[in-house]
Symmetry: C2
Subunit: 321 residues, 2 copies
Amino acid sequence: MNNYSYVIGVDMGGTHTAFGAVDARGHIPCRGQILTGDYSTGESYTNALGDAINKLIEGNDLTGKVRGIGMGAPNGNMNDGTIAKAANISWAKTVAVPVAQMLTERTGLPCKLTNDANAAAVGEMTYGAAKGMKDFIVITLGTGLGSGIVANGQLVVGHDGFAGELGHVIAIRHNGRQCGCGRHGCLEAYASATGVARTAREMLDENPQKQSLLRNIVYRPITSKDVYDAAKQGDELAIKIFNFTGELLGAAFADFITFSSPQAIILFGGLAHSGDFLLKPLQQSLDKHILSVFKGKTQIVISQLNDAEAPILGASALAWE
Amino acid sequence: MNNYSYVIGVDMGGTHTAFGAVDARGHIPCRGQILTGDYSTGESYTNALGDAINKLIEGNDLTGKVRGIGMGAPNGNMNDGTIAKAANISWAKTVAVPVAQMLTERTGLPCKLTNDANAAAVGEMTYGAAKGMKDFIVITLGTGLGSGIVANGQLVVGHDGFAGELGHVIAIRHNGRQCGCGRHGCLEAYASATGVARTAREMLDENPQKQSLLRNIVYRPITSKDVYDAAKQGDELAIKIFNFTGELLGAAFADFITFSSPQAIILFGGLAHSGDFLLKPLQQSLDKHILSVFKGKTQIVISQLNDAEAPILGASALAWE
């Protein structure tokens, strides 16, 4: 057996693709990036990415020391290594592009690919809060709500590689909000940065007499960060927005636990840093809605991984497997 | 390696405990049963069961040919082999009884124990519709709604052994029916034999002018079998009851698929034999509610295992693993 001491983690976003070499303890000694949007075909993109990775390896004296590449990408499919139907990637909107295989051809390294939330789950298992856990769920609270589910120590990707779309369970069955997926009432239409901003807009409109710091924001759309800042200043409406969001999340988590009975649900992403404004109503709602056999058994944990490093760490962890 | 050709399957119900020897092709050459209710302690029960199994093995010339025992039991816990908090078992209502271990001590055979729905799932994977599948869900539609979830070829039992309580996801969030678990709106309060009977009662009361064959049943409670019989005769109200049940099940299945993206959902139990009365509205509702990436990918299948044999087969399959 060779003494591979590093893996490469790649975090593909709609704008940037960041990558780095990662050692077994989760340190990232060197990193790089390319602009995702600069490439109009899957081939030109993977060639540029492969070349940049090769350069990183050679330039940092890592030749022969890298075990493989792990990549997190929008709609990345673990089963076949393709990116397909990714709304933000021009060359993968309608076709399935075998990115993992193309990257292997360019670099000579084995490559595993999955979506960002699954990568985050493997990252938590390898370097983070889920070390030693065999059953847990990572919920990423970003622009949308993503999820990575681990059961029996393995990612649950389903027969087609696309399992774990918990942002699209139905939280509100009647008169639910329109979701980006075309349906109504999806959890991510409420419990995400975008969802919180929509709740803010709605609550301001529905309570025109109610004073709120959020009314001072007039020249641009309200963000979830604005709501957090207002809540910190004791703004009642902002606190009500978090209560509403936490209540919905807690009720949804009760259903998730019914499914896979995880040891922990780990929250990741911007909104997860809202502290007790979100966590308290979430935990209260979970305690209220949970089936008695599961009561008090599942910890709700905030990821301790650095937001800037976690996507690369998570993706890289795939390559140790 | 020894040439073990048989396993013992045990199906523990509140009234009877049935067991049988099973070969690798799913034949049951011999079987027996004891009365569950005859025993007031876990010890007397497992001693009687162990003795009866020993007798079956000796009497049928199977000594040395049996690999182990698999047992399906109410609230059976795969992780630690106990039965705990089982409402229908007098000696396991409040304590966890290590039934698997006690049975091993009495018979000298390794014993695995899980709940009935998980046993059904392993049975379908070993002998039934899920042969060769790595990702599927079995839904048992009996008095309640049970579920066995398989992901990556393994039962999802969760960190505490109790995962897969899909009868207790919330189907109706507002003004949902009281469920036996103490909460409101659980799927099994609607989509189960008991749930269908409740729907019948409600719809009859809510539509006093509406004619229905079900109004002829006056000296006893209406059963789901009555509703099926009426539907077969073209009774509009009975058909409406199935439409309502199928609609709720289909919407719930859309959420389940979002979680684990199974290749198939296999329906088992009395209500599963309602044919197109249930299947058609279920499939329509599923198609309507499913996230587009999963559309048309998950088959809805009726179990082909014999209702009388399946519980023993399913439980026995645990012992091959």
